[in-house]
Amino acid sequence: MPENMEKVYQERLERYKTANRNEKPDRVPLRPFAAEFTSKYAGYTAQEVTHEYEKAFEAVRRCAKDFQWDATVVNMIYVWSGLVDHFGQKYYKVPGIELDPNVGFQYFEPADEQGAFMKEDEYDALIESPTEFLANVWMPRISKYVVGPQDSNTYRNNMAWLKGGLSLMAYGGAVGAANEKLKTECGTVSCVSGPIKAPFDILADKLRGFRQVSMDVYRQPDKVQKACEALMPYLYMNAKVAADPTKQVPVSVWLHRGTMFSKDMYERFFWPTLKEIIIKLWEEDDIQTIWYAEGNWDKWLQYTKELPEKSIIYHSDKGDIFEVHKQVGDKFAISGGVPNDLLAFGTPEEVKEVCKKLIQTVGKDGGYLMDAQAIIQSDAKAENMKAMTEATLEYGEY
């Protein structure tokens, strides 16, 4: 790596780490979570980046270079159609196959009891042994090829596990190499390691489907609670083993359904197990978590506040980021706040104005990272993304 790139990288890493720990770096770091924006900017269709992950990585590098991002996600187009094909996953639809080449991949959540990947009377089996349940019952349901232990084995089943396993390894290796390239070619930090989800969200997204869980919380609340408790250690382990071994970059939690709950439900089903995972990662493993609060999580700020100082980086989407800053800014770093509608339809001047305000209020004493509210898709205009960079360079220095 050219010497000056190494220097740029080290500066950015330091800037990123300092801001994450809610301290004052030399400048506000630019840390966009960008998905389809990168592919469009690099001239690729949704189909190309979903089928060929090297193109997805390359698109990110293009943007990281041109927009001088300090830190970013190495690839937010996280579905690779190879893996989908090898495991025969039924819940993804892929551009160029089931979808128009220019439409992003889609994940279909089970919509009714019949389609649910876990049935209403299977809580006990899940609670008893989550891994056995996933391998023996869930996998055969979500895969076109995998069969359960009660069925006779097939060639397709063997090939699915074999090819799926190999492609997981291939992708994992490719991500490692892509992180390295992002560093040596762009001087940009790969900003997250392992992902976490709240146990309840796993139940809603991947097992029962939200509609079914919405009834379960009334019909069999104890089981829902126990299921969340049973999933908790696995989700913790998942994050821990996927986390950056050098502990420089955080893991991220993608918060889905908690905003849709009443206080009682949040307290019972959502919060306790999620809280435990985050605290464990922080206290036992020294790993920070990006609290990616999808939607508006302001009503739960009093709970989030209970987390140990610096254990999370609070990402604000539709919430009021200034209020978030008032309430938890002394405990946690904060990211986000640039409205996506403005990136899509506003002018560069308007974007700059918003960024300036964010820097001067939320970022006043450090602990702020520049990013949009939600994941940046192809609706964002390049000139507005450029304005975000310019504003950060212009007003973001301390």
Partner: protein, 208 residues
Amino acid sequence: MSNNDIYEALVNLEEKKVKQLVSQSLEKGMAPEEIMEQLQKALIEIGDRFEREECYVPDLIYSGAIMKDAVELLGPKIKEKGAEAKGKVVVGTVYGDIHDIGKDLVVMLLQNAGFDVVDLGVDVKPEKFVEAIKESGAKVVGMSCLLTISFDAISKTVKAIEDAGIRDQVSIMIGGAPVTELVKDKTGCDYYGKDAIHGLRFVSEAYS
């Protein structure tokens, strides 16, 4: 049994009690229409509570499920009869987007209020919206959009409606988490509803 029992039970989301009361009332000769009226009133109350943040998305979903079972008990007669619909509305999630929980709530509240909803589902192409508007003669079309990437699909749908020469016939409302007034203006829609209740109000006005 007082006259409001079924209403109360549904408002309180007491699934078993609702079923029991509906069966008992039928046995005692209560008119299915009367039972239906109580059930519908309860759903409207739940919708109002949702707006006041006294009840939440899972409650809406659950109440919908309880309602469905109760209507089954009332038998096919009541379904055929039904009150005269207040008007037709076409609703769908725009092309490229499969989020449907918010859209389904909009559909549910509209139906509860007595509108006849043509639900096009998710990932709906502009042509399909146009076709449905033409076929139903709906005065309002509602688009749900949860992905900023699909802002473009909103614009394209509006354009398709214009090209089909039916823009004057329909009011277009949009909603979904990333949608804002700015998005409404830039895509050429008529109304942005920040939640399902606002959508219902807009439709009610259009048909008033």
